[in-house]
Chain length 328, copies 2
């Protein structure tokens, strides 16, 4: 029994930061993202009765038991559902560099959830796969769907939470230009950083209250294809998220000098040249520019020439996760 | 009738950000600062019955009516108190460069309030001068006193608010190493930036609630001469202030790439080399390191060698504002 699935990375306009339930990985705020074409993880799950535990290999590297914990938990959930006790060999490959500033955990858990269900004989079900992927990495829940996707906020214990598609990729031909400023892994992973923000930031409660309002503005802006409204609300979302983390004790600060340069480049193109371009950042130093297709090349050029920017990727709306090989 | 006064700049550990009363310039949060030796403004006020308005000259430059508005308001208040209608010529000189990242408005309004009262025949009274200076620039209220100084938070309409000395300069021989990263005037002055934060930051209410707790920690740390406690609470104060401003819409962001480099230098010296050194920043891109005298030279050296740092100043606790020439 063997199945292979593909899923794309995504970038959030309305940021996910903070958990309503850390055990079930349920977000405390709604998040809205765009799935990105071409930034793919392809994952094969093959059942093997001879195995005594799951074997997970990512980009040619066999994971240690602690590294594979979350993937094994996902497989356990699928096995429980399929009433199987058979372990599996998982081979996962990203077609984009690990340190590209695009979380491979989103596409990774999305592809794994689709491939695992198929390998264990369960029917293709994006909503079920989104729930499964959410437990591994909340942003992965969104990569099950193509285009513009929302993961609503959840309640503690509500394990039914899954993402839902808002609009297909062709709804709006946006571009996201990714400026990579640092190849090292980020200083602090999202999980401990979210927990530190919750435990010690004076702004965490206000973030939880404010984030749904920003998500609402972003939802409306996407509906109307209003780049100015989307851009301003997206900047407000990443800034409020980073600000809440910065105010934590000990503080969490993801900016590098080159991040500030790239933010200045984007702001300057917008304010001095009138180009509708807006920034977003995730829990790391890379800077992403949100823009229309006609400006993407010029923005990529300027970001490439920005001090400290190592390289630049232009990305566009991408499709839902899918099966590319299923057990016959 | 002519009088000359001198006052020093100061740097806040517990940041002032936000007004309880914008008309009277009354802070909504308590602030605690150190007055800095050698960074002085010397101001002469000379009454002249032939003048038809006040004439204010700073560092050789005659101010236009809009530029001199706040100084004229201070002189008006002194005239009302002294029952005089005579205008004055004001000559003010800073012995530190304007773009040194050390607000000359603090030492400037402090020196002006002392010199003006004396020139108009009013007795030397630091508390009265602190009140007067506060209306011009709240941080100036603190420069009336030497060493460690607090400006409590006030209530709307409470024009009696003045700073009060906590400890004299000799209480604790701290050093503040100032890393100048940008010579241009800051992007947005404190007044409009505070107003924008109040009007639009989702974190402003939480800042108002949190700032007094940080001030209390800073008060206790200064009492105990505890550099670790002072440093951590001071970092928390500047980060919470900058974070509240960053989350405003439009956002207010004072960091330059070199500010981030300097923050990294300070953090690295503390975390990797065990040197008790902590950062603070005001409403601008300069970075100030808080440390003990024995580490000041090494820190200044490292900050000088940090990418983008233009120059470095080492400063130390300084005296109260005083009259250096009074009408005989």
């Amino acid at each position: 029994m063997r199945a292979t699935a593909v899923a794309c990375a995504n970038i959030a306009f309305a940021k996910y930061w903070g958990k309503a339930d850390p055990w079930l990985n349920i977000p405390a705020v709604p998040s809205i993202s765009l799935t990105l074409r071409g930034l793919e993880t392809v994952t094969t799950v093959e059942l093997n009765p001879a195995l005594e535990c799951d074997e997970i290999t990512i980009d040619g590297e066999l994971l240690s038991p602690p590294e594979s914990k979350r993937a094994v938990e996902l497989l356990d959930a699928v096995r429980a559902c399929a009433q199987s006790r058979c372990f599996a060999k998982v081979l996962s490959r990203n077609n984009f560099p690990k340190a590209s500033g695009l979380a491979s955990s989103a596409s990774g858990f999305a592809a794994l959830s689709v491939a695992a269900r198929a390998a264990y004989g369960l029917p293709f079900d994006p909503v079920e796969s989104s729930r499964l992927a959410r437990r591994g990495s909340a942003s992965a829940a969104r990569s099950l769907f193509g285009g513009y996707v929302e993961l609503p906020q959840g309640l503690p214990g509500d394990d039914s939470l899954a993402a839902r598609p808002l609009y297909p990729p062709e709804h709006w031909e946006l571009r996201l230009v990714v400026a990579i400023v640092c190849e090292q892994p980020k200083k602090m992973g999202s999980r401990p950083a979210m927990e530190q923000t919750r435990a010690s930031s004076p702004y965490y409660a206000a973030w939880l209250e404010h984030a749904p309002k920003l998500a609402q503005r972003i939802r409306e802006a996407i509906a109307k294809r209003d780049i100015e409204a989307l851009g301003h609300a997206s900047e407000a979302s990443f800034q409020a998220m980073h600000a809440a983390a910065w105010a934590a004790e000990p503080s969490i600060f993801y900016l590098e000098p080159a991040s500030v340069e790239a933010l200045h480049t984007i702001r300057s193109m917008r304010e001095k040249e009138g180009i509708p371009v807006f920034a977003t950042m995730d829990a790391g130093p890379q800077v992403k520019a949100i823009c229309l297709p006609e400006h993407a090349e010029a923005i990529a050029q300027r970001l490439s020439n920005t001090k400290g920017v190592l390289r630049v990727l232009i990305t566009q709306p991408g499709p839902a996760a899918s099966l590319i090989e299923s057990p016959s």
